[in-house]
């Protein structure tokens, strides 16, 4: 009897193992369909089902945008129409870059993922990415919407940022971008106060400000406060090497800087309402906090939400420096595995989401700013004008103060002093005065902000360990100090 039941157990287990394995690979049975495994941030793509009464977008040139189906579905149909091949997108999401990386190192395979700049650099450094095919940047190909439409400004950033001799553009195509700043309630916090990172340390707002529960964002703010005097000094600002020096200072990971930032963050911990991951938006709207550290895209969302509740909030990119961040699509080696069809589908996916009307859809849906400026196509600028533009007459009728706001750097890649008059005029919109501190400013910051923006690069293993240890030191209960011996 004993032996029999054990046999039964063994047989059952042996039977179960192949069944479990089958679950994993049942999708590959249909050979004609290209399966594209995409992993993206949560709520980071248009899911369709727009309400024609509330959401419909009608641009100046007559383009109407009001999709019923999701971006993924539309891509599958478009791919079939364009290439005559069927593609099936297996879409999944992740919450943080680290989560994505951990999923991949635990054995999940994806073909196309959309991490942030430092994670892209890490993936390049670890040789996990597939470079784009030769034709990807060929602007003469009709369907190369990314090459044709990417903002020259962002393209430059992708061309300049490099690791181990590889520039980012070889492996990654931009998706969304933005700055790191502060959302504040202008009735309580002044614009001047909100334009410095040390707002997070101000006694006046004790326990009424929040900071992101993220090592990198906190480190950036802490480091800006630590170097505030230096990087705001006239001599530094006017130096010829301003930009490179600023980059170096805000990417510094030497012991002295880390120790100083640790002290600052420990003080911030005692001053903030919370280290938040998601609650900050709601707490701003309900008024529990008066200012919080926020990414520009989330800031737009917060401002929109608050507006619906009748609360006016503003966004600022602190004067010391702001973190220029961007998320980009890149193809994973272990997923693509040299499969030309998969690579074709992956690149087509990037191009499809980069088509200006689709970029507008995503922007409207998620609140972040697309890296697409449209090139020849004017959809992106028309959308910007549609959202924020005023003509003088109607503004005067409504009693709204208007100002001119230039976003030429984004559309041409040149700053104002390099642009000719025609271009300046073309990319300057007339907008209400408050938008220079609100959604427009969050989505398309001014040139001045971009000049003092810094890309926070990938920290290698030892740097990462030091910074994580610093973070633990800030967040953990200090037993020795508590017991009195330091």
């Amino acid at each position: 009897m004993k032996i029999k039941s054990r046999n039964f157990l063994v047989r059952l287990i042996l039977f179960c193992i192949p069944v479990f394995m089958l679950f994993g690979c049942s999708d590959d049975s249909d050979k004609d369909v290209i399966v594209l495994r995409v992993s993206n941030w949560e709520e980071y793509i248009d899911e369709g089902e727009w309400d024609p009464e509330e959401d419909m977008i009608e641009l100046a040139d007559g383009t109407v945008i009001c999709p019923e189906t999701s971006m993924i579905e539309d891509f599958e149909n478009w791919f079939y129409e364009t290439y005559g091949r069927k593609v099936k997108v297996e879409y999944s999401t992740f919450g943080t870059n680290e989560e994505l990386y951990n999923q991949m190192s635990m054995g999940d395979t994806y073909d196309l993922v959309c991490p942030s700049e430092y994670m892209i650099m890490k993936l390049i450094a670890e040789d996990m990415l597939v470079p784009f095919s030769e034709g990807f940047y060929d602007e003469t190909v009709e369907t190369n919407y990314y090459a044709k439409g990417v903002s020259p400004y962002i393209k430059d950033v992708y061309d300049e940022l490099s690791i181990n001799g590889h520039v980012l553009s070889e492996y990654a195509a931009g998706y969304m971008w933005g700055t790191l700043g502060i959302v504040y309630n202008p009735e309580i916090v002044s614009e001047e106060e909100a334009s410095h990172w040390n707002l997070l340390l101000m006694d006046k707002y004790n326990r009424r400000v929040t900071i992101k529960d993220s090592v990198r964002d906190a480190y950036f703010a802490g480091n800006s406060i630590y170097n505030e005097a230096l990087i705001s000094s006239e001599a530094f600002l006017n130096s010829d090497t301003y930009k490179t020096d600023l980059d170096a200072i805000l990417n510094a990971t030497d012991k002295k800087t880390i120790d100083a930032v640790e002290d600052i963050l420990s003080d911030i911990k005692e001053n903030v309402y919370s280290f938040e991951t998601d609650s900050g938006k709601a707490d701003m709207v309900t008024g529990k906090v008066v200012a919080n550290q926020q990414w520009s895209g989330d800031a737009v969302y917060t401002l929109d939400q608050a507006e619906e509740d009748g609360v006016i909030l503003c966004y600022s990119a602190p004067e010391e420096a702001t973190n220029l961040w961007f998320d980009g699509w890149c193809m994973i080696k272990s997923g693509i595995e040299g499969d030309a069809d998969k690579q074709l589908a992956a690149e087509a996916f990037i191009n499809f989401v980069s088509r200006p009307d689709n970029a507008v859809r995503n922007m409207y849906y998620i609140g972040y700013t697309s890296v697409i400026s449209g090139g020849e196509d004017t959809t992106m600028f028309d959308y910007l004008d549609y959202c924020y533009g005023w003509d003088e007459e109607s503004a005067a009728e409504e009693g709204i103060d208007t100002v001119e706001y230039s976003v030429g750097y984004f559309f041409t890649g040149d700053f104002l002093d390099e642009q000719d008059e025609e271009t300046i005029e073309k990319y300057t919109i007339l907008t209400s005065e408050d938008q220079t501190r609100r959604q427009l400013f969050a989505q398309y910051p001014t040139e001045e902000v971009m000049k003092r923006s810094v890309v926070m690069e990938y920290f290698d293993k030892t740097e990462n360990e030091r910074i994580n240890q610093m973070w633990l030191n800030v967040r953990c209960f200090d037993l020795y100090k508590f017991l009195g011996f330091d």
Binding site: M1, K4, S5, F8, L9, L12, I13, C16, T96, E98, E99, Y101, N102, S105, R207, R208, V215, K269, V272, Y273, S274, F275, E276, T277, S279, K288, N464, E465, N468, W471, L472, N473, R475, C476, F477, D478, L479, Y480, K481, F482
Partner: protein, 265 residues
């Protein structure tokens, strides 16, 4: 003929498979990471590092303080309730018990969110009372886990013993401390284990009430998100050892109690 149907042992097969796949195998992985270093060599440095740093040991101490306070408050609140419920009239007590267990059916994040709003009304700014709020919400979350085992052990308590103690001249206080309390120790022990250990790691509750100091659970999360499987696993092992120790101690208590019970008769 006898062997046609499932034997008793075979009925356990689904559970055994589940255990092997989702409990034993993951535990082996945790053990592997805890006892190796980054290059895969067997080492104890991860453990040494944990006990050498004031910060990580501090986190352990801090978690224990939170867990201990939560357990004590839960016990103090739950015992009288369980006692009243258990000694109430038979038909009423089960419906009353429902009232106390009912909150368990609502998702705890929802409950804590509601509690947060109430606390904001009372306290104004939650961030000034992080520690207090943390313990309060933990108590709120875990209270039913304390009431249930206490209720069960107190219902089983034979009323004639209390009567006998009274007859023999004990006053109410004496009856409680000499008869009721010793006999309910198994219930207390199982309640304590059900509250103490989970509250050492339930960092979601603390996060929700903005307690920005890490406890053991958040420390594991923080290591894992920095791709540090080794140090994260060490903490899991340390917690596992604690669970083991507490179960051993509580077993001894219950065994000892049963012996007493025997000698009572």
């Amino acid at each position: 003929m006898k062997n046609k149907g499932f034997s008793r042992k075979q009925l356990a097969v689904p559970y055994v498979i589940f255990m092997i796949l989702f409990v034993v195998l993951p535990l082996l992985v945790v053990f592997y990471y805890a006892f190796t270093d980054a290059s895969g060599n067997v080492s104890f440095t991860n453990f040494l590092r944990f006990f050498q740093s004031g910060k990580t040991v501090g986190t352990l101490v801090y978690s224990m303080i939170i867990a201990l306070l939560t357990t004590i408050v839960c016990l103090l609140l739950a015992y009288p309730v369980a006692f009243i419920l258990a000694k109430g009239s038979y038909c009423k007590k089960h419906s009353f018990l429902m009232f106390f267990v009912l909150p368990m059916w609502i998702n705890f994040t929802l409950r804590i969110t509601a509690l947060k709003e109430i606390l904001t009304l009372i306290e104004g700014n939650l961030a000034y009372h992080q520690f207090f709020n943390g313990v309060l919400c933990m108590v709120y979350d875990f209270l039913p886990f304390m009431i249930m085992p206490l209720f069960n052990s107190l219902t089983k308590l034979d009323n004639s013993m209390i009567e006998a103690a009274h007859d023999l001249g004990a006053n109410k206080v004496q009856v409680f401390f000499k008869v009721v309390l010793p006999l309910s120790i198994p219930g207390i022990i199982s309640g304590v284990t059900m509250v103490f250990l989970p509250s050492m790691t339930n960092y979601v509750v603390l996060d929700m009430v903005y307690n920005s100091t890490y406890i053991m659970g958040s420390l594991i999360g923080s290591y894992f998100s920095a791709y540090d499987w080794h140090n994260g696993s060490v903490i899991s092992i340390i917690l596992l050892i604690m669970i083991f120790a507490i179960t051993m101690i509580s077993n001894r208590f219950t065994e000892g109690n049963q012996e007493k019970k025997v000698s009572l008769y």
